[in-house]
């Protein structure tokens, strides 16, 4: 590859950072063209995500024990965690959508954590992925709101508790913030994932200098711990925001 050769040449001379190379989408079986059907590293890591979820949620719970094994206990904790979140935020009627929200949560949390495996590819660090996730939530919630409440769903933007004079202004702000939701929802996740991984790569680049390598390695260890936290927190944040948006669709009144 021409770029890699160039990288190699640069590395020979001085310090080089390629923190973003880890995010390049590459076909797995030769060729350079990435068609929509091409099997790429994205495919591989998404497949691993699916397998990991099967391992936890299907194989882990195969015992169906009253007193759970370790695997079953983890699966139950994940279930209980998301179930309670959906119930607390959206109320009992939101539980119909629990399987969808649980799917989102499991995909994001596993993709985030698997992305921390060295040499892996983080699918959730790509805007293409997070924008699809966020748009799916946004469109579902908007359509659901209109289906359930019809035109009354627009009451979400009309703050009836505010003085009449400021209501149009508030309505404008509400509309803008409503349409910004999918943007912030998706960029938050991809941005967090990308930034953490890039920072780790930058520290790894510094490790090439003998004098600073111990510091750099310590920094990588610290960042790695932080990234594990971020992986879970971002999955949690994405899921709870989904619940909040869903609550708006189910109960649009302020």
């Amino acid at each position: 590859m021409a770029t890699e050769a160039a990288h190699g040449a640069e590395e020979g001379s001085s310090l080089v950072f390629h923190p973003m190379d880890q995010f390049i989408v590459k076909p797995l079986f030769g060729g350079t063209e990435v068609h929509w059907y091409t099997i790429t590293n994205v495919t591989l890591w998404m497949a691993i995500t699916v397998l990991a979820i099967i391992a936890l949620m299907v194989l882990g719970t195969s015992g169906k024990k009253q007193v759970p094994s370790r695997g079953q206990s983890m699966a139950e904790m994940a279930y209980g965690f998301v179930y309670k979140m959906v119930e607390d935020v959206t109320g009992k009627d939101g539980l119909r959508y629990f399987p969808y929200i649980f799917t989102l949560f499991m995909f994001i949390v596993f993709a985030n954590v698997l992305g921390l495996v060295p040499m892996s590819f983080t699918t959730t660090s790509h805007f293409a992925v997070t924008i699809v996730l966020a748009l799916a939530v946004f469109l579902t919630v908007t359509i659901l709101g209109f289906v359930l409440h019809g035109a009354q769903f627009l009451g979400l933007f009309w703050v009836s508790s505010a003085p009449l004079a400021v209501r149009p202004l508030l309505a404008m702000i509400e509309v803008i913030s409503y349409f910004v939701r999918p943007v912030s929802h998706s960029i938050r996740l991809a941005g967090n994932m990308m930034a953490g991984h890039a920072v780790i790569k930058v520290f790894a680049g510094f490790a090439a200098i003998a004098a600073v390598s111990p510091v750099s390695i310590l920094a990588i260890v610290g960042m790695y711990g932080l990234e594990i936290l971020v992986a879970f927190i971002q999955a949690y944040v994405f899921t709870i925001l989904t619940c909040v948006y869903l609550k708006d669709a189910l109960h649009p009144a302020h």
Binding site: Y79, P99, F127, A128
Partner: protein, 180 residues
């Protein structure tokens, strides 16, 4: 060589287009979105058909077992409470019975004592009456004897002094003197 230059050109164009961020290389978006949708559908099917019903059933089972055990424990507690109440009641009954027996015994003893006291009083009264009668008799006898002696003595003294008096007069005078 031809392919290599083509690749290099492609990468250069790619690099220029994405400004160094593979995330903004829109040529890969279709691929990512396609595989993402496949992945999400697969995960959704696995979770909703297999995993979630299973975990939900296990959790419901466990909640049921726990509720049953708590109910059973509650029942046993109630039984223990009942047993304690029965014990307390039996104890109270026994105490009341004992108190009744004590009371009855005491009353009986008091009755007996009263009867015995009455009998003794009666006997004492009888004895006292008897004694009094004896004393009265003795006293009467003594009075009579003293009167006889006094009459005899008075008669003797009268005779000795050389006087003579009728029998009846002396006896009347002595009797009057003794009474007065």
């Amino acid at each position: 060589m031809a392919t290599e230059t083509h690749e290099a050109a492609g990468h250069a164009a790619e690099a220029a287009g994405s400004a160094g961020m593979p995330q903004l290389d829109f040529s890969t978006w279709g691929n990512q979105i396609f595989w993402l949708i496949v992945t999400l559908v697969v995960i959704y099917l696995i979770l909703s058909k297999v995993a979630l019903p299973r975990v939900g059933a296990v959790l419901a089972d466990r909640a049921g077992t726990i509720a049953n055990n708590i109910a059973a424990a509650e029942e046993l507690k109630q039984q223990a409470r009942d047993a304690e109440a029965a014990y307390e009641k039996a104890l109270a009954n026994a105490r009341a019975e004992a108190a009744a027996i004590v009371e009855a015994t005491r009353a009986e003893a008091a009755e007996k004592l009263k009867a015995a006291t009455a009998r003794a009083d009666e006997q004492i009264a009888a004895k006292a009456a008897e004694g009094e009668a004896a004393i009265a008799e003795i006293r009467a006898g003594a009075m009579e004897a003293a009167e006889t002696v006094a009459r005899d003595t008075a008669a003797e003294i009268v005779t000795a002094l050389g006087f003579s008096a009728p029998e009846g007069e002396i006896a009347g005078a002595v009797s009057a003197r003794l009474k007065g």
